[in-house]
Amino acid sequence: MNDIKTKFDITDIIEQRENLSFITIPKEHAISLVTYLRDVKGFKHLVLLTAADWLEDEEFQLTYLLNNPDEKSDLGVRVFISREDATMETAHHLWEQVATYQRELKEMFGIDFPGSPDVDKPFILEGWDDKPPYRRDFDTKQYSEDTYFPRPGRESNDPAEYMKKKLYPDEK
Amino acid sequence: MEFKNIGYALLTIFIVLNYGLILQGVVRKIGARVGRRYGIRWYQPYIDIIKNYAKRSTITHGVMFYIAPVFRLTGGIGLLLFMPVIFGSDIFGNFSFAGDLVLVLYFQFFGILGMALGAAESGHPYSAIGVSRGLSQVTSFELPLTLGVIAIAMQYQTLNITEIVAAQQGGFMNWTIITNPFAAIAMLIAFLGAMGRSPFDVVLAPQEIPIGPPTEFQSGLLGVLQLNRAIFPAAKLILFMNLLFGGATNWAELILKTFLIYMWPVFVGTVFPRFRVDQSVRWFLTVPLIIGIIAIILI
């Protein structure tokens, strides 16, 4: 770990467990760190590549979760990229299956990976023409009501409000 | 050739059709009971056929698509009509003539050929796969079957089924299965392939290539195929009964014998899983073929 710290510009380290930790790194160095981890540190297996939308911070967080089968330890590499210009370097040359993850991220979050094979092909949504649905400013309820002919008469409650009313009817 | 023969032939077809349908239902019922299920009603095949004829719309893919089920049914009816159903009966002796054994062998093959044309026109890939499998399997089990039939023809010095049946009368010691066991074994193994039950059901292959050749057939066209599926196995059973088990002199005997013969592919089918087409072709061309050749040599 210290080795990585000296070699790379790590901004944050969280050691969750003995064999699971997360490190954060600026966008420019992410792929070279992942390459280094794979080739030198024995993190040969990519478990997943996923994204989270931090709407309030105007950022996407990408997580490359790597696994070291020899030491039985996991390492998550976190990268924050801006929501405005959501592009990231592709990593499909390291693991072939990354291309599929990147296709999914492109479709669901609108994060572009230039150079990744078939990244513009529809992944599971066929002919989607709205905002990418996993972005948090996409109102899925509104979209569903506008598009899918909701059957009238459906009631729904906010669970917190409902339980409060039911258990403590006197409190305001 | 008299006109009343046509009436007799229609009567034969009618009885054998009903027998085939009931046999189908009963065998499925027995299968269900073995699996501890209540099973279908024994008359379910009738309802299915009525329902298919009662469908209102039919789509077509061209002329051959219409003709294929008719070809298939012709194969079944032809097989039935050119052999004596009941030995010694004027009514159910049908159009048996001096060379009917050869013609009957041909009718075994006739249906699947017609089906090949129709299925090809339907354009469904599974139909094409099913037909190519069917043709290769039919070709391969035809060899031991023909060898067995030739051995029997040499044994009795005739190509007439009526005479073959006549020669087997007078007790079960005269049946071909006793007097010519090698030919009988070769033919009975080929019979497994002819019935198209597991392990030789790659042609229809449920769950694999949905149902093979008839994938695109619907409504009335499927109804015709279902009629054939009742008549054809029954006719084959009667053929094997005539050649190997001494024929039948009345309907009760026919029903008993054919039912017992039918249990042979049913039992084998329950025990063995499906062969792939290359396996079944290879298998038919080894053991049964050798037995068939031995039968020819020993005659």
Binding site: E126, D129, T140 | I59
Partner: protein, 212 residues
């Protein structure tokens, strides 16, 4: 629209250029027809046969497909009611839409439904087909099935047990014997409305309007 379905010019084996319009050439664009029921007596007999020989299309669309399998087992044994499974839409008469439908699946379901022969019946299984169920506010699953194809029987529940599925089949039998199972004709009569609804949801419409 996919590349395969676009109009294009190809060179024939003889060296002549020929125009191909796959949607026109490979499919028929005839609309569905309304078939008038036959004479009442014949129709009654036919309906009896239809009700007692329900051939279910083996197409599991959602999680409800798992509830259809037990019906074949000795415990529930649907065969005794004349219910059988067919692998191809051409021969099936009952379409069990089992559970939620994503837009992508809906497209396949519409194609499959249209390939079935008249008369055909639809059983919608699970709450998802009624009002969206637990996926009611999803961006990708439809809310009510009856806007896209006529539905004969709804079976509510999430998921309904095989017993309720059997009860649904029983209900469908009653509907057919009473001669009310005219879903295919309804589809033909209100074809434009159904098609407009389908096209509103399915964004990349790359098939002919009616594919039988």
């Amino acid at each position: 629209m996919k590349e395969d379905f676009k109009k294009r010019t190809v060179i024939s084996p003889e060296g002549k250029p020929i125009e191909i319009d796959p949607l026109k050439d490979y499919f028929s664009d005839a609309k569905p027809k309304v078939y008038k029921p036959a004479h009442p007596i014949i129709e009654k007999f036919a309906n009896w046969a239809r009700a007692n020989s329900l051939w279910v299309l083996g197409f599991g669309t959602g999680c409800g497909a798992i509830e259809m399998r037990p019906l074949m087992t000795p415990r529930f044994d649907a065969y005794r009611y004349g219910i059988q499974w067919r692998p191809t839409p051409r021969q099936a008469s009952v379409f069990v839409v089992s559970g939620y439908l994503s837009v992508k699946t809906l497209k396949r379901v519409v194609r499959t439904y249209e390939q079935m022969q008249n008369p055909k019946f639809v059983i919608a299984l699970g709450s998802c087909t009624i009002n969206g169920g637990m996926y009611w506010d999803s961006y990708n699953t439809i809310n009510r099935l009856d806007h896209y194809m006529p539905v004969d029987v709804y079976i509510a529940g999430c998921m309904p047990r095989p017993e309720s599925l059997l009860a649904g089949f029983d209900k469908l039998k009653t509907i057919i014997t009473e001669g009310r199972g005219e879903g295919a004709n309804t589809y033909a009569e209100k074809f434009d409305w159904y098609k407009a609804n389908q096209k509103k949801v399915i964004k990349d419409w790359d098939m002919p309007d009616y594919n039988w």
